[in-house]
Symmetry: none
Subunit: 240 residues, 4 copies
């Protein structure tokens, strides 16, 4: 079997795993059910992926790749536009990504949780096992996991320079904030876009999404340099 055939089978297994993981969750997923999904044996899955965790990481890697591919497509589309337009294009792309591939969104968020837990307690084998850390796909992800950040930040800087983005704050902070808005929106958006009842607490998701988009635009346009005047100070609200 040449390497092309090998990667075909690998992709099949990753697709099967994606389906099973997204349906029943990682813990409840069994290697047996993943194998049966494409009519192969358990052993074959292990032939391609040394452990369940590694297979999970392979799916996560695909999630990253899919997001990056969509980013690059979006940038190609706006290659002659100004920075603001490129950034908005990417934000819009991220929204599309979370709608089309909601499970990929979950994988990406979970990856961050893993990384965080590991950074805080590297001594504990709590949530990130030694086996996972040494796996091929985990290492492949580490090579690219900062790309989404660096790509957007670069465009934000361009937009600040060409004047299309008025917000002169630290571009990383702007990125984090816009990202947070989308992450929060996606996390709370319980309605499945495929279902007809596209409302959340009776609010049409379409309307909400438009408003979220308005907020995102507002962040890029924001010319205020400080919070003087209208903003209520936080400490005044707390009793601690």
């Amino acid at each position: 079997m040449n390497s092309s055939k090998r990667s075909v089978k690998e992709r099949q297994i990753i697709s099967a795993a994606e389906k099973v993981f997204s349906t029943v969750g990682f813990a409840s997923a069994t290697m047996e059910s993943i194998a049966k999904e494409i009519g192969i044996s358990k052993g074959t899955v292990y032939f391609y992926f040394s452990s369940k965790e590694n297979l999970y990481m392979a799916v996560t890697y695909r999630a990253f790749q899919t997001l990056l591919d969509m980013y690059y497509d979006s940038m190609e589309l706006n290659k002659r536009a100004d920075g603001k337009r490129v950034v908005l294009g990417i934000l819009n792309t991220y929204l599309e990504f979370t709608e089309k591939h909601h499970y990929y969104f979950e994988l990406l968020m979970n990856y961050m949780t893993i990384i965080r837990a590991n950074a805080e307690r590297p001594h504990k084998s709590d949530r990130l096992s030694e086996a996972m850390r040494n796996g091929l796909y985990f290492r492949k992800i580490q090579d690219i996991h900062n790309l989404p950040l660096t790509i957007v930040v670069k465009e934000l800087k361009k937009g600040q320079k060409d004047g299309s983005i008025k917000n002169q704050r630290n571009p990383i902070m702007i990125y984090l904030t816009a990202w947070a808005v989308v992450v929060g929106y996606t996390s709370l958006n319980v309605s499945n876009s495929k279902s007809g009842r596209a409302t959340i607490f009776k609010v049409p998701v379409k309307d909400w999404k438009s408003y979220i988009w308005h907020v995102l635009n507002g962040i890029l346009l924001d010319e205020s340099q400080n919070d003087s005047g209208k903003v209520v100070e936080m400490k005044k609200l707390s009793s601690n």
Copy 2:
């Protein structure tokens, strides 16, 4: 054993479960380790909680209760203030809640995921087992899980009426948006809040939080009724 003694022991068990769940995750937590945490036997845990899932729900219920308690405290503090101030007080309280009780935040988010998955595929026993659905604590949560929403929405309406909140959009949508900002911020904020010099991608968390607060204020102050003019239309950015 009178009911007071019973509830004391119950609380101990819930605390132990909270500690274990938050440390190793639900799947890796064992009833044994939870019992040992407070020096009792596995059987006793089962005497108070009929299953591991029920115990998990009991911890989730505590998370809801803790949040609500903090909400009521905040409202008591601002009981004579205008709607905007009350709402900002609650948002600030939610931020404090996620910082002090990050695992409670995770529980609340996870509860939403469970509810959503169940709403979409009620026939599948995927993520919400029959046993869990019938558990006492799950039913108790269902009685209160909309309170955070209704409380804030009520205050938002008051603010819109008394003129302190300029944004005249659907208050539920405003609530969802503000909540999304906090949820996104909390989800991405990987830094350990206990350390004073926490940063995320080299941005001081303190600065980021201030900016998030600025955005939240902006949402309440937003007087725009539509996106005419400056806002880029989404459909222009997409190739789909």
Copy 3:
């Protein structure tokens, strides 16, 4: 269940394991078959012994204990005799031990192999796994594994002092040599004493054993201090 009941069950499991291990060997033995041997479940075996290796060590520990008990009985019997008689009593006891408990003999020899492999290549997890090293019984064995040596050497010294043992060489070397004779005899003695055909290569085992005994006596009586004269030098026989 009180500790007495616990240890009763433990002993039952160890006995079952001894039977299964000695019949099919460690590798082919399954926890299931050991459990079934006494009509309990696999899980119960794991309740008492954390792993198969640990259970193996528990059987090995029993082998050591059995040998030591027989040693102490033998010494009690000869408590007023001279050193030579005590040593011969112990040697005889060791022979009896290997005949009655041939599998215990194998366990003891295998334990030595494990220890040796570990001493030589402590970095490799080759034959002694981390799990085994940390097991309770392995550590218990380490506390007593030198007792057979120290007991005999002490008596040898007494015999050298009281004149009953003529051999004035290093008592440890005398012990090693006598032990080697018995170990070699036992290793080669393929005929099961229970079987009627008590011969090896047509030599009656009874006769051979008598002769081995003669050799052992000879070692203790040996008054020669060097090999001058009759003994052929080794180097003259080798071509290397």
Copy 4:
């Protein structure tokens, strides 16, 4: 591939197997690791050896062959010497064999165990599987496994006849006894012979080996016909 090429590859595989078996033991050795050892595929190993057990037997056969080769070399060297010298030469050769090829020694001993278990319980498939019994190498070994015995016994008889060996006991018994001494010595000698300053329980191995040699000489020289007089009777030492 002609038969010469075939046997070259066979030898390579046996060498690889020897290395892997001796390092991690039969049970832990995998066909894959043996194949990789010489950069071939698992399938190729199966082309030459029909099973793992057969390959193990092939290594055991090599162990027998190596021992016999060394025996013949030794006898060639002493072809004009008297019986005692030939026998001592062979014993010395056996000592060299166990030092140079300790794993071969283990293989030989293990082979005896297999044969014995099979002789005692031929109905049980306990330790010697049907597949092994029918393998080529197992049958090849059976053709030669008595040669070491017959060779030495023949020379012992010669020595008894020419007067160089004083011990007039059954030559097989003398052989067994001398062999037992060497086997016991080798089994207990845990030290690594490569290191010059090897000790066992603080006894220099060199000294112990000299003494063992002294004992072996003593056995051949032993003129006593019975144990009258000095030897303690065994039955007097036992309480059974």
